[in-house]
Amino acid sequence: MKDKIINMLELTGFTWFIPLIKLVTGESPKQQLQDLVKMIGIPMLAMIIFLGLWHVGAAKVVTSLGQVPGPVEVWKQASILIDEHYIEREKEVKFHERQDIRNAKKLAKDPNAEVTDRPYTGRQTYFDQILTSLWTVFVGFVIASIIAIPIGIVSGLSNTLYSALNPLIQIFKPISPLAWLPIVTIVVSAVYVSEDPMFSKSFITSAITVTLCSLWPTLINTAVGVSSIDRDLINVGRVLRLSYATTVFKIVIPSSIPMIFTGLRISLGIGWMVLIAAEMLAQNPGLGKFVWDQFQNGSSESLGRIMVAVLTIGILGFMLDRVMLTMQKFFSYDKNAVIR
């Protein structure tokens, strides 16, 4: 049981908890306490110093919107945002209750009456916006991966194709999302016309912008991983006369999994960064739009709320990276490799 938990923590990268678990189960307490101080105490200390500097520094800067918020103010705004979420959810429940009662009454009077179930159209809460952002980045990232991994594999296997694609990759890679966005917006408006759109245009625009920017690290890393496979392994495949497809699935992909995941992790990181900028401009109702709206709003609370968003973005980005890291460790054949 204990070993299982420790194994889990190791896999997910939450190694800081391991001494804690060991301590609880009474394994050499002295050693564990030392480890604990090293692994939790020191980062903790750094965090406290950071908060202190922030607190002191913020107090010294006064802007047109008042003082720059310190940690306390930001914490307050965070709890307000959380409260707003619950209030909004309660309103929604009440709305549906009222609607259900109305409909029930109508049906009681006349069983054939037409009842409408109107959806609740309340304000998006902070958590809705976070979910929108996560969903958008996920869609953009998945599309990017679906395109980048196969192209990476094929071009890693063929020098000709690689030298054909390389200049294109090198040119498109450094393009900023802000440059893509206007093009994507216009193209999406022209191409994506439907009566009853399943997705909003702002969502599509943001997701495609994420795709365009997060394509390249996966593509390049996959190609490099594939082209650096041990020649002998490929030769074993040739001796066995494996088909192209079997070679790809049985030899090429397994041996380049570590590199593919390295690329995917970088891509997801970039995608998340790009998303915020894209949402600001495309007005996709996620965290980027939240920041933009607060900026436009310019009330005394705005700066604090923006900082909540900034921290949220950071923490979520960190968590996304952890998810990828865990997957990388899970899929990698070399469980002992140190992956950071």
């Binding site: 030769n235 074993v236 040739r238 001796v239 066995l240 030899i251 041996s255």
Partner: protein, 263 residues
């Protein structure tokens, strides 16, 4: 009479930045069925190149390789290769490494159960049954090489090609593997072409030792028939006159007549 494997006037040129580089010049060698042939020569003379041509991984510029009356110029499981550094798939267990070969070679020819028996039989041949479910990273160098040999044997090749199969191993492990190989060879009587750097290994294992001249444009300098009784035992042979005679022949060839030019 036509020989089993005929390396017929094979030459090869590699294109390089400074024009073509002729690595082999008219290599001519006939090998009979069931013969164990070692190729010995200085580093860089072209031993691996010969083997890669027989294995079909390289194409000869001139001449060709004829196996049982048919020219071969493509790799195939009838010429299984044991590589110097094992070349096991690191994400597959020992068993699965043999399995991938058996499945692709005997697809449609053996039933599932027969395949399983065949895989296990070959792992047993190299004395690795106890570790068949381990990943290569969990095996020692010698064990990995044993599995590499099992994988090649499991293809039931017409010719078994081995490129310095024991080169990366320490002397004791190497001796163990040589003994295992002799045992297997006594059993199966395969046709084997083995590259080696080790004079003792060559004399101990071979029916024929092929000595190559130095490159560029290397070719076969001399062929030595080793007519020692089998089974051979390294302890008995240590003081055997005949054995030491063969040994000194090879050493003389390598270090007198074809001493490596000081680089």
């Amino acid at each position: 009479m036509e020989s089993y494997l005929n390396i017929d006037h094979v030459s090869i040129e590699f294109p390089t930045a400074n024009g073509p580089f002729k690595a082999l010049d008219s290599v001519n060698l006939k090998i009979d069925k069931g013969e164990f042939v070692s190729i010995i020569g200085h580093s860089g003379c072209g031993k691996s190149t010969v083997m890669n041509i027989v294995g079909g991984l390289y194409q000869a510029t001139e001449g060709g390789v004829i196996l049982q009356g048919k020219e071969v110029n493509e790799p195939g499981p009838d010429r299984a290769i044991v590589f110097q550094n094992h070349s096991l798939f690191p994400w597959l267990t020992a068993y699965e490494n043999v399995e991938i070969a058996v499945k692709s070679v005997f697809k449609g020819k053996k039933s599932k159960l027969e395949m399983k028996d065949w895989i296990e039989h070959n792992i047993e041949l190299v004395h690795m049954s106890h570790a068949k479910d381990k990943l290569p990273a969990e095996l020692s160098g010698g064990m990995k090489q044993r599995i590499g040999i099992a994988r090649a044997l499991a293809m039931e090749p017409k010719v078994l090609l081995m490129d310095e199969p024991f080169g990366a191993l320490d002397a004791l492990t190497r001796a163990h593997l040589q003994d295992s190989l002799m045992e297997i060879q006594a059993d199966l009587n395969n046709t084997v072409m083995m590259i080696t750097h080790d004079v003792d290994e060559a004399v101990l294992l071979s029916d024929k030792i092929v000595m190559m001249t130095n490159g560029p444009a290397a070719t076969i300098g001399e062929v030595l028939d080793v007519k020692l009784e089998r089974p051979r035992h390294r302890l008995q042979l240590a003081n055997d006159v005949q054995y030491n005679h063969y040994r000194s022949e090879v050493i003389h060839f390598l270090h007198e007549r074809h001493a490596r030019k000081v680089a």
